[in-house]
């Protein structure tokens, strides 16, 4: 009799994992934590930490960026160099965590966000993935697997397996090692199983860990509870396998260390203009266009699809602030066509067409409000850099031309129309044809550098 149990061959599994990991390489821009505190606070915490744990000095020397931040649970996170390897792929990031409250503690933490979830749910505010905790001598202590901020499994060094078994057997509610039959506590049925897993930490040390996963399958009165409800709570030290140690900290979701340093917060960019308080300030906006093939009607050329950016300037007396911004996708590869959008600093770009307008203070504020809250999703046809500039113009009453133009063949099944940089350039040319005094420069040039983000109150 033939066995019809579906099986997956090793090459197929390998291909699936490779595909999954490739997809997971997409970058996800994440918000800079709002509760970052001042550098003076950080210096104080740092000095205290160094006096308590001198070995931190060497670790802090490997800090990857000047960025550090404080999370909601008041712990300080400092990104350091090194990337753990899990499933034969470098992923996640490493940081020092300092807990300034009593009991005062510092530890090294490796965070491996779940790549599949990051890919499929781009805007999740919760953390899903593995968190591995080491002492300051880089010895693995314990960790946990989280799904949407909830611990669903604890990770222990493999040499702690015996101890863990002892703990589990002492608790009749739990069974160890691939248990399949649910056992019963006072009010719940639990199903626990353990398995060995391994990863290579950032110091290239292979760690074999015992993963214990427990979940509720039913309640004694016969009603079935949600089987995904995990037993370990992230606030329960026992569930961390740490035997009374403080809970592992949930970091802000992120893909790579230093990534936030590249992120531009459009609100902070626009906030800079508030530092000029003169009521008689002059406001100017420039529309900068990079055509795909300058001077032609092609939508594709040496400059790829082209680009459109906005340069905003506020001037009062000898004070002047300029911010140059553009709208981009966050995705990589083919996800550049459709993915969450982002604002990037466009200071210093070279353009080949420019139009400029002077605005009233009221309209300038409308413009900065629009840029501070950009559209959420980028779409290469209908919500791209050209669309963004056009909509910004609409919001602030600036006669920025409609960039919609015909692309490909129109009709059923075809793309038809799209907003393109070339469409924007054609609109500007048309504008100049209608009015020779229109403030349009077709000679091109280089944009001014942006002032960058400000932290105004």
């Amino acid at each position: 009799m033939k066995d019809h149990t579906p099986t997956t061959s090793y090459p197929t599994k390998g291909l699936l994992i490779a595909l999954l990991l490739t997809i997971a390489c997409q970058k996800k821009e994440l918000p800079i934590p709002d509760h970052a505190t001042t550098s003076s606070n950080w210096e104080k915490i740092k000095q205290n930490a160094l006096s308590t744990h001198p070995q931190l000095k060497d670790l802090l020397a490997t800090q990857t960026s000047a960025a550090y931040f404080q999370t909601k649970d008041s712990t300080w996170h400092i990104p350091i160099s090194g990337t753990p390897i899990y499933q034969r792929t470098k992923q996640g990031y490493r940081e020092i965590v300092i807990q300034p409250q009593q009991p005062y503690q510092s530890w090294i933490q490796e965070n491996i966000p779940d790549p599949y979830l990051l890919q499929s749910k781009k805007n999740t505010d919760t953390y899903t993935g593995r968190i591995l905790r080491y002492n300051l001598n880089s010895q693995f202590q314990h960790g946990a697997i989280y799904i949407q901020d909830r611990a669903i499994a604890s990770l222990l060094p493999n040499n702690a397996q015996t101890e863990q078994r002892g703990q589990l057997s002492a608790n009749p509610a739990q069974q160890n090692k691939h248990s399949s039959a649910p056992s019963r506590t006072m009010d719940t049925y639990l199903n626990c199983y353990s398995y060995q897993d391994n990863f290579v930490d950032a110091n290239h040390v292979v760690n074999i860990v015992l993963t214990t996963n427990c979940y509720v399958t039913s309640t004694p009165n016969g009603s079935y509870s949600d089987p995904s409800v995990p037993l370990p709570s992230r606030n329960d030290p026992q569930s961390q396998g740490g035997g009374g140690s403080p809970p592992t900290t949930i970091p802000e979701p992120s893909n790579l260390p230093g990534e936030n340093a590249l992120k531009v917060d459009p609100k902070k960019l626009m906030d800079c203009f508030k530092s000029i308080t003169n009521p008689n300030a002059a406001y100017q906006v420039k529309l900068l266009v990079i055509e795909p093939l300058p001077g032609t009607f092609f939508n594709i050329g040496p400059n790829s699809f082209g680009h459109v950016a906005l340069a905003l300037t506020k001037t009062a007396g000898d004070q002047s602030i300029t911010q140059v911004v553009g709208y981009y996708p966050t995705g990589t590869g083919l996800d550049k066509l459709q993915s969450p959008g982002q604002i990037l600093d466009n200071g210093g770009i070279e353009f080949n067409m420019e139009a400029s307008w002077f605005l009233t203070g009221e309209n300038f504020e409308k413009l900065t409000n629009f840029i501070a809250n950009p559209p959420r999703d980028y779409d290469y046809l209908k919500s791209n850099c050209a669309t963004f500039a056009y909509q910004a113009g609409q919001a602030a009453g600036i006669p920025i031309p409609n960039p919609s133009t015909q692309v490909g063949l129109s009709g059923p099944g075809h793309i038809g129309f799209a907003d393109t940089p070339q469409g924007m350039a054609s609109g500007l040319r048309q504008m100049q044809a209608n009015d020779k005094n229109a403030p349009i420069n077709q000679a091109g040039g280089t944009a001014a550098l942006s002032k960058g983000p400000c932290n105004n109150p």
């Binding site: 594709i300 083919l334 550098l449």
Partner: protein
């Protein structure tokens, strides 16, 4: 008969070679390379300056250099005045071969593992 076979084989090789050449050329020119090129990221050692190229949308290597010079002028920190690339050189990535010729300056930066 033998000559005919040899001609057929030679013709197949030519077609295959032409096909591969077409793939290589197409993958090296816009807009296809927009989707294939990696994230060219640069930073100084401390990470206080960082720049990501997005050449197809204005953020070219030249823009990065302009910003780096401005950063150096503003900070005047001689201890951290080297700009590193954090991407690796991958000779096998045929879709980058054009970049090695046209935009080779970016590969001369020292490598810093991120």
């Amino acid at each position: 008969m033998k000559t005919a076979k040899r001609n057929t084989k030679s013709q197949t090789q030519k077609i295959l070679g032409l096909f591969l050449l077409t793939i290589i050329v197409l993958s090296n020119i816009p807009p296809i390379n927009t989707f294939l090129l990696p994230n060219y990221h640069y930073q100084n050692h401390s990470g206080s300056f960082q720049y990501n190229e997005y050449p197809s949308k204005g953020l070219t290597y030249a823009v990065g250099q302009r910003r780096w010079q401005e950063y150096l002028n503003q900070t005047n920190n001689p201890k951290d005045d080297t700009l590193y690339r954090t991407f690796q050189i991958r000779p096998w990535a045929f879709w980058e071969w054009g970049q090695y010729i046209v935009n080779n300056k970016r590969y001369w930066h020292p490598y810093l593992e991120n």
